[in-house]
């Protein structure tokens, strides 16, 4: 269960891409250990929001406060972004060795632990391109975990995957959620959201339209836009 301790506080956040107002007065507080699923139509600002949280995008006004200044934020990308010239093991040890100053042996032991966690220890010496999409995304998750993050961001982690590989990635994510990791997940996988989320955030046109527990969010959405969105994506 999430604690009352805040992990991230976002107040009056505004972000423009030139003339385009991508995020409008975003206010959102995320507690430690909380699992938040962000959904909404494409172009609604979901990805931009989490990219602002870990500083991949700059914002023009408002504040993002990490309660602990040492907060380490991990990120899993839609396109995996593994380092193609390095083996799986080297992908996992690069950060810990260069940024955290760990020894090679320690970094490799830690990497192996997380590869086992995502159930692909046997792929350690392969290059990413020899792995399936689902395996690559699991390596990317393990790579983030190797940095011992307090918060893990997921930017549509299953959108680039073939349908038969989505489950294996969601299983790993569900598993992590059970461990009390603070997670912010941008996804259209509503089954996963129902099962894992403590809170749903619905965004449209750069604004947070509504938030709520999965139960009330799916059964009786308050806003019209949210209702329409859910109808569209749950229809099939």
């Amino acid at each position: 269960m999430p604690s009352e301790q805040h992990a991230i506080e976002i107040t009056n956040l505004n972000k423009w891409f030139d003339d385009f107002h991508a995020l409008k007065d975003i206010n959102l507080t995320i507690n430690q250990g909380e699992r938040v699923v962000v959904c909404g139509p494409s172009g609604s600002g979901k990805s931009t929001l989490i990219r602002c949280i870990n500083d991949l995008e700059t914002h023009q006004s408002g504040k993002i406060t990490l309660t602990d200044t040492q907060t380490n934020i991990g990120m899993v990308f839609q396109q995996f972004n593994l380092f193609p010239h390095l083996t799986v093991m080297q992908n996992l040890t690069l950060g810990p060795m260069k940024a955290l100053g760990m020894s090679k042996a320690d970094a490799e032991a830690r990497a192996m632990k997380f590869l086992e966690r995502v159930r692909i220890p046997e792929q350690a010496d392969k290059k990413p391109r020899h792995l399936s999409g689902g395996q690559q995304q699991r390596v990317a998750i393990a790579r983030s975990l190797c940095m011992s993050p307090e918060v893990l961001l997921f930017d549509e982690p299953t959108s680039a995957l073939d349908p038969e590989m989505i489950a294996e990635v969601l299983d790993v994510m569900t598993d992590l959620a059970g461990d009390g990791m603070t997670m912010i997940v941008v996804t259209h996988e509503m089954g996963f959201a129902r099962k894992v989320a403590d809170r749903m955030v619905f965004m449209d046109a750069g604004e947070i339209i509504e938030t709520g527990s999965p139960k009330e969010f799916f059964s009786k959405p308050k806003s019209k836009r949210c209702k329409l969105f859910l109808e569209q994506i749950l229809q099939h």
Partner: protein
Amino acid sequence: MRLKNLCFLALPLLITGCASTSGTWGWYVINPNTPSGLANIKFLLNGFGATITLSIIAALLSMTIGMFVALPSISQNRWVRLPSRIYVEVIRAIPLLPMLFWVFYGLPVIFKSMGLNISIDPFWGAIITLAISDSAFTAEIYRSGIQSVSKGQTEAAKTVGLNYTQTMRYVILPQAIRRILPPLANQFIYIVKMSAFASVIGMQELTRRANELVVTEYRPLEIYSLLILEYLVLVLIISFGVRWLERKMDADESK
């Protein structure tokens, strides 16, 4: 391969077949069986050393200058990018020959007006001019190679805590170098050919020697034919090296 076979076939044909005819061809001027012909050939071939040395030093200098021009050109800040942009546009626009004239004949005048009595040595004048002229192209090769690595790689490096230098060194450059090396090697062929211009400021490389021999022997057809053959052999050897490099990179890639 076929091109090379053709050369080997054509060479003895030209030398033996045409040597006996009078008029058009007069291969005696570079006939290795006569002492004067042999001396002429030696004189011409001795230019290889200067051409190769000139090309290699100029290429290395160009690669170094190119790096310093390319690094600011990938900055997010347009004011940091601007000087590199101007350098590339200006240098790329100046043809090599006028630039050589300017450095060799023009620059000493400026030195003189400043009270300095510096004359430009043909060897170093040629090397520096070639290197500067070429550096605009190597800078562009570096820049496009680095920028061809996707933005996602930089972002991923940032999320695992790497700083700018570490990101460049461990993530971006190792990927960029595979895309930089083949065009860079290709550019070296270009330098070798452009080095012929050094002849006009008195640098005694392959072309200069051919010119000097033509003046004394009056046999431009034979001497320039040999000259072209000299460049052909040199460039084919480098081409072969470039192909080998590309194959090796492809092999590494598919590992």
